[in-house]
């Protein structure tokens, strides 16, 4: 990962938060580009291993939303 | 009398309403002829930028 930038790995539920992120776009909101979204079918799909793995890969923060 | 019935429908007008009538009928077991005077379907809705009140893209 590029050392100069912050990277947030976010796991977004397809049915709510992913749709909300879509809506943020439709509403032309602006937010920092440090976030990378991984779409998951439900936050119930989340496993602690994903979070640990993201940190191991250099993520500065992990955001699970659903 | 039932023998005389024809299981097809002509839909005149390829705007949002005509298109959806055609889809419903075709998916319900009727043969549909969709007639549109222009070269493509879509009607006025295709010209709209966004739609009220959700601001969804009309296209």
């Amino acid at each position: 990962m590029n050392d100069n930038t912050i990277k947030i790995v976010s796991f977004l539920c397809n049915w709510c938060s992913y749709g909300a992120a879509d809506l943020a776009g439709v509403s032309r909101m602006e937010y920092p580009a440090d976030i990378r979204v991984i779409r998951i079918p439900c936050s119930g799909r989340m496993s602690p291993k994903f979070i640990l793995s993201a940190f191991r890969e250099g993520a500065d923060a992990v955001w699970v939303s659903g | 009398m039932n023998n005389k019935l024809t299981g097809s429908v002509v839909v005149i007008g390829g705007g949002i309403s005509g298109m959806l009538s055609a889809l419903d009928l075709a998916n319900s077991g009727y043969y549909v002829y969709l007639v549109e005077k222009g070269p493509s379907i879509g009607g006025v809705m295709a010209q709209l930028d966004k739609t009220f009140p959700t601001n969804d893209c009309a296209m």
Partner: protein, 927 residues
Amino acid sequence: MDVNLCVGCGACAEKCPGKFDDGYNANLKQRTAIYVEYPQAVPLKYAINPKVCLKLTKDKCGLCEEICPAKAIDYTQKEERITLDAGSIIFSPGFKPFDPSRFDNYQYTNFANVVTSMEFERILSATGPTMGHVVTFPKLPLNPKKKQDKLLVEKRKDPKKIAWFQCVGSRDINKCDNAYCSSVCCMYAVKEAMIAKEHAGGDLDCSIFFMDMRTPGKEFEKYYENAKEKHGIKFIRSRVHSVTEDAETHDLNIRYVDEKGGIIDDTFDMIVLSVGLEISKETRELAGKLGIELTPSGFCKTSSFEPVTSSRDGIYVSGVFNSPKDIPESVLDANAAASAAGDALSAARNTLTKAVEKIPEINVVGDRPKIGVFICDCGSNIKGVVDCAGVTEYARSLPYVEFADEAMYACSQDAQNKMVEYIKEKNLNRIVVAACTPKTHEPLFQETLTNAGLNKYLFEMTNIRNHNSWVHKNNPDIATQKAKDLVRMAVAKAALSEPLKEEKINVNDTVMVIGGGLAGMTAAKSLASQGYKTHLIEKKDKLGGEAHKLYKTAQGEDVQTHLDQLIREIETNENITVHCNTTLEAVDGFVGNFKSTLKTKDTAFELDYGIAVLATGAKALVPVEYEYGKDPRIITSLDLDKRFKEKDAGLAKLNSAVFIQCVGSRQPDRPYCSRVCCTHSVDNAIELKKRNPEMDVFILYRDIRTYGERELLYKKARELGVIFIRYDREHKPEVKLLNGKVLIALNDHVLNQPVEIEADLLTLATAIIPRRDERLANFFKVPLNDEGFFVEKHAKLGPAEFATSGVFVCGSGHYPKPVNEAITQGRAAASRALTLLAKKDNLFTSGTIASVDVMKCSQCGVCVAICPYSAPRFATEGRFAGKAEINAVLCKGCGLCVASCRSGAIHLRGFDTNQIFSQIFALGEVV
């Protein structure tokens, strides 16, 4: 043009010298004589306008024939006559926007910066003549050639002030003959103002000049309030008399009278005329040929009880031709017309349809991934921010990527066709599309894969528009980098995707309709006539619901006669079983396989069915203000209907009757318009005037919302001498009971003075409130909105169904609506349900579901306990008895069991653990 040969490449249009107005862009620019309507047009086939084609008019040119690589040009084509044999006709010819050229006071033809709302719509569009940039002189080309135009274009600027004039070509019999309200202009003007502000930045000054603000649809009032309160759009209640132009700057000066009677002068950079909807002369003539009756305004004459059936047997109508309406209502009309047309032909159903040819699936299991990546520009939506060419180039460098390409609109028909070709040509076996959101576009691309013989789950979509270009528009470099990251992640995931199988669902074709009001009965009747066994559940002791309380429809039809007839038809229909005094106690199962427990009085019984229609309706609010309940002379709209129905002779003896509108509606705790009350009160006021023309009748209102041809009632009421006095939310009328009198005090908006009215009868137009049936919503896992109305699948395109498969909605439980609209929605729900029932042998589960690796399963039972849908259970027989197994139909693919399985025995197809890890790892790679 030979449409079978044309590939839509557009080579012809590049060279074509003929030009004519581009109707798609509201004539704001020109197009070539050989053209497609718009880039996403279906079918994407070029057409020649014979009136401007040089070859066809002067026998010169012929360039397109030379250029066309597909040899599709044929100048010899002649008009053909085709005879079609059909059982029904649906006539939905639509409308034409009103042409304001004839209004000399607005100078539309002479002033460059006076535009119509349709033109403004194109100005806002990224694919429009100004590419979404709001500028003055929009009718001039971006780089004009004529000297005179060049001088004007030098004065072009980004407008700072824009005004919208409402009711241009609507509610007007002085300058045009359109007495009706066009029903949509208030909404689109608010929308255009908000989007213009968004495009131009926050300091754009937007003013909307209106007579009554009519936002009576679902969620519309909130949008209007937001526009006013949060976005600073000004709403000015005034009809502007005329517009003049500054000869030098071309600024537009207007003069109007404000609400206090003061004369105001103001200057705008641009004026948008909110033009109404009109039925064209051509449509009227065609209607004449078809032999269907029209109203004086040119709309189709229909009954409130058969709202999509024309006066001629076998011809059904829908859309604006039926009455001025917006998109969701046009969609409901469309569904309803399909239902009406189909019901008439039910005996001949499935006699002429043909089966779709199934494209054999290519087996890719075990093959090395060969990924095709498609980067969408989405016009300027993505390309305007992200370096799409760079991202495409980058994609080519990624592992397993065989091919990458950029598309202007990846969703357009031509791009889809190309995708199919590339898949076949390059033997691609995984596809990645970087474009907008998979939530709307994934099914489209998956269908393209199917057409190319690939399993649709070999597809991965990543969102570089909503999650990237739209939200990082000021950081193009970072957005491009992010797009590359997202593409890399998607490619990594796609490389691990596997073809998935969809399981067949057995559909029980019995239907349950909950709610025996007008909408529910209509839905039940339609489905029964298509041959499906239908159970109609009503909690009261008789069918009919709230309609029992109504006197007449807005068209003057007697409600009770029709209602009684419909109830008789329902009760005698052998396919319908009516269950009165019955409540729903439990719901189990899923689309095609529901099972319910119902209770009639004290007896419980079970019902198996495949489809549910929720038609539970709404009810009138019991008012808590205006001294209601303290005096028999203060009643509600429905109480007044009751007195009309009972032919109460006392009504003719009243000297003074007052109606108060918006009782409980359009206020902070209930921020929606109840839609029906304005028409209801106006109608009842007319009824009172009919009984006693000398009676003083007052309607105290905030905005009169008699949309569509209901406006004619408003006009009639004024002609009969009904007095309309406006009040605003902050200054409600005050009702006092004093010395045996009912007194109403308020400020008169015309005189700007306090007035006091003594009423012999005060009718409160009460809000329509939802039943907020949370239990029912939970049973079927369907959502309720903040107010307690059901939330449909899609506000525009899915107004009669829920996101939950197999569950449909109609009637006032969705939103308050008058008789004709409830019936339309009832039919629409039936039509949507029928498309599912017709798939009886052709319905499949999703492929993205969980599956158990029995060798790893330790039989701990966590999955069985944790699943909210009861999909996993212990196998009871066979080799793996005791191990977990998952019911494919019940599984929603949420992955809860996968995450909770301590043995790692459960896999979620399409979102498997290794796929999610691959995305995380792809992020970790140094770019």
